[in-house]
Amino acid sequence: MRLTDTTLAVRPRDNWEALDLGILLARRHARVLLAGWAVLTLPVFALLSLLFWQHPGIALLLFWWLKPLFERLPLHVLSEALFGEVPSLRQSLRAWPHLLRRQWFASLTWRRPSLTRSFDLPVLQLEELGGAERRQRLQVLHRRSAGSARWLTLVGAHLEAVLWLGLSLVLLMLLPAQALQQWSWQELLLAEHDWLWLEHLSNLLYVLVLIVWEPLYVACGFSLYLNRRTHLEAWDIELSFRRLRQRLLTPMAWAALALTLGLAVPTTDALADSPADTDAPALSREAAGERIRALLAEPPFHQPETVTRWRLRETGGESPQPPAGLFRLDSLWRVLEYAASLLEALLWAALLLGAALLAWRYRQWLRVFARLEHNAPAASHATARVLGLDVSPQSLPEDVAGEAERLWAEQPRVAVGLLYRALLSRLLHDYRLPLLAAHTEGEVLQLLCRLDEPQLQAYAGTLTGYWQQLAYGHRALPPAAGEALCAGWRALFPRGTQP
């Protein structure tokens, strides 16, 4: 291998950049690669399909299983092309059977599921290593690049699937719409029709997809391998030195060198002592090992570094007895725990207090919504002061009519007021009428209509009318009105029925 002949710009690259380089490489030699792959695989696929016509799945599985063998062809082309000698299609095909011989069985059996297949292939095919040597070599190579190689294989599998589905969809889209209208998917899936050709067609699509993808896959693995070796063996530095040497080999350079050496007379001081002059103690093998180890234990080979981090306390097992000093720490912990529970209690209290404050702040809103929920005015039986008046039975005299009669002569307004108040009290307590402070006189009468008591209704109407005339109209009532009202009251509420 002569590095100076490579067609690549050799320099250490990032792994992903190396994969990118592989794609470029495959693109440059795409014709040979694609044609070689197609010429190689299509007949094999045709043969397998014919052999297993009744079992398309097996045909595809076998073909897929043989992929590592086919992959040796693109690698051969690429490795030749790396040094500028691109083999023709015929040459590469002719070389392929020889390439197959090496470790074909391992490739098809225990190494088949390997995820780093394309990366490992050059070790086998180009370096021609086997057994323990190969294992060692791969160990070194894998140290930095195995991850990328695995990702390459995984992404590749997905790409294959996507392209395969895409091709199938393209075919489906090419079907005329009329044909699709009569298409019954259920029938297609469940019926026992002879759909073998369709499955073989699908296999063919997969094989076609591989024609594009597999050369790319091999090229990417190969470029990853090259990159790893560039890192390991410093190919770029070697190349630089070689270029330097070539430049210095010109005659002019030799002349200049000779002149310099001739003119410069070296002093003895400038010369280093010859190794023979120093009487270094002869080191035994053990002593040398000792010294090397000591050297390695010192900087810069060994740099101790103190790292402090949190880790979980190990639970279970015999906990060692804590030293005496730790007891103080323990009590400190206990204090901290008390403080924590105190803080927790305080936080809960703050939360409850906040909720209470919030409720107090928006109490009007809560009341509004509560009212909207129970919009029907509740009968307020127990309230003594309803309607802005004192209507509790205790506040009224024993004999309402008698008291009103007595007051009528001097204070007719007070007398009618007393009667009206007593009427409301009766309505509220005897008849359980749901009266509110907001009810006007007219509304009280309307509520009274519900009771279906014509006599009471008529009396209440008359009384309310008189009351309104006195209260809002400021008019004098006819003298006979007082008597009539009292008589009406006695008729409606005879004495003794006082609540």
Binding site: Q364, W365, R367, V368, R371, L372, N375, P377, L387, G388, L389, G417, R421, L436, A437, A438, H439, T440, E441, G442, E443, L445, Q446, C449, G461, T462, T464, G465, Y466, Q468, Q469, A471, Y472, G473, H474, R475, A476, L477, P478, P479, A480, A481
Partner: protein, 338 residues
């Protein structure tokens, strides 16, 4: 009126004789109401509201979905009313000068002459008022409050009585301009027309299909019942009805309660208190009463307040209506006692 039926008439025989003009006025107003109900079927509440506003001398905004007879109601009133009537159909391209009037140059006299707009009338129907842009709506501001129009630096008084009756449609928002608060506040009442009850709708359909006009009730057979002078006299009588301090206090308390009521973002202004009292007086006259009771105030509270308050956004989101919140308010404000 619903209350008037249950309202007792206290022993008239022993009373000092009631003032005849008040009774006559009540009869006249009730006759007008009966005439209106011939044309507008199933909208008694709206008819009562309109009559109340007429007696109180306030402007009315009638709101309702199409086809409930908003315009018909106002046209019927114009027919029953002997004074002048003008109608403006509000359209998006209507200009303020189309409403108030403008100066035109007269070639013969070589002078500018004032051409008075349709507002110079007794009854003005502003149909679909929210279809005109705000500047045209604003042309009504001055005339509604001050009963005058300023044209070419001259303040021209409109004839008395002057009433604006506007209609608007609450559901259509496309291409409409909501009335500004200042304009809304100048309307004394906002009446809502709802769908008529089943039997009333039956009567309505029977009557409409019998009439000569294809799809609407005819207002031609209605008789004029009221002249402009009569109306002024009625308004004067209504304004002089006695009002107890407690009732006045109740009206003011109602208006003030809207200002700090939790469900309302914006409360009613002092115009609401004034409208409540005036509306209460007119209602009392309409039912034939001699004085104003709290029932009269409460009866017109919804129509006075519903366009003057704004619902809090929280309740708006809850899907509550202004009417429901106002009813709740009316259920909470204590009525006057002893």
């Amino acid at each position: 009126m619903s209350e008037s039926d249950s309202q007792p008439t206290p022993a008239p025989a022993d009373q000092p004789a009631p003032l005849p003009p008040r009774q006559r006025a009540a009869q006249l107003a009730q006759a007008l109401g009966q005439e209106l109900r011939k044309a507008v079927i199933g909208q008694d509440e709206a008819v009562d509201g309109l009559l109340t506003a007429l007696l109180a001398g306030g402007h009315v905004l009638v709101e309702g979905v199409p086809g409930l007879g908003k315009t018909l109601l106002v046209r019927a009133l114009a027919r029953c009313f002997g004074g002048e009537f003008a109608r403006i159909q509000f359209t998006p391209d209507l200009m303020p000068s189309d409403v108030t009037g403008h100066a035109v140059y007269d070639l013969n006299s070589e002078q500018f002459k004032l051409r008075r707009g349709p507002v110079f009338t007794h009854l003005l129907l502003a149909d679909e008022i929210n279809r005109a842009p705000a500047k045209t709506q604003a042309a009504l501001l001055e005339v509604m409050q001050e009963r005058q129009v300023t044209l070419e630096n001259r303040a021209l008084a409109v004839p008395q009585p002057f009433l604006v009756m506007a209609t608007q449609n609450p559901i259509e928002q496309e291409g409409t301009y909501p009335l500004p608060e200042a304009e809304l506040d100048r309307f004394m009442f906002m009446l809502r027309m709802d769908y008529p009850a089943a039997d009333e709708e039956l009567a309505l359909v029977r009557q409409v299909t019998r009439s000569a006009r294809a799809d609407m009730l005819d207002v031609a057979p209605l008789q004029p019942r009221l002249s402009a002078r009569d109306l002024l006299a009625l308004q004067k009588i209504a304004a002089e009805l006695p009002l107890d301090d407690q009732v006045l206090d109740y009206a003011v308390r109602l208006a003030r309660a809207t200002r700090d009521w939790p469900g309302l973002a914006l409360g009613a202004g002092p115009r609401a208190s004034i409208a409540l009292v005036r509306g209460g007086r007119a209602r009392a006259l309409l039912r034939g009463g001699e004085f104003v009771t709290p029932d009269d105030i409460k009866g017109c509270a919804l129509a006075v307040l519903r366009h003057r308050v704004r619902l809090a956004p929280e309740l708006d989101i809850e899907g509550l209506t202004v009417d429901r919140v106002l009813r709740q308010l009316l259920d909470q404000v204590a009525a006057p006692r002893l």
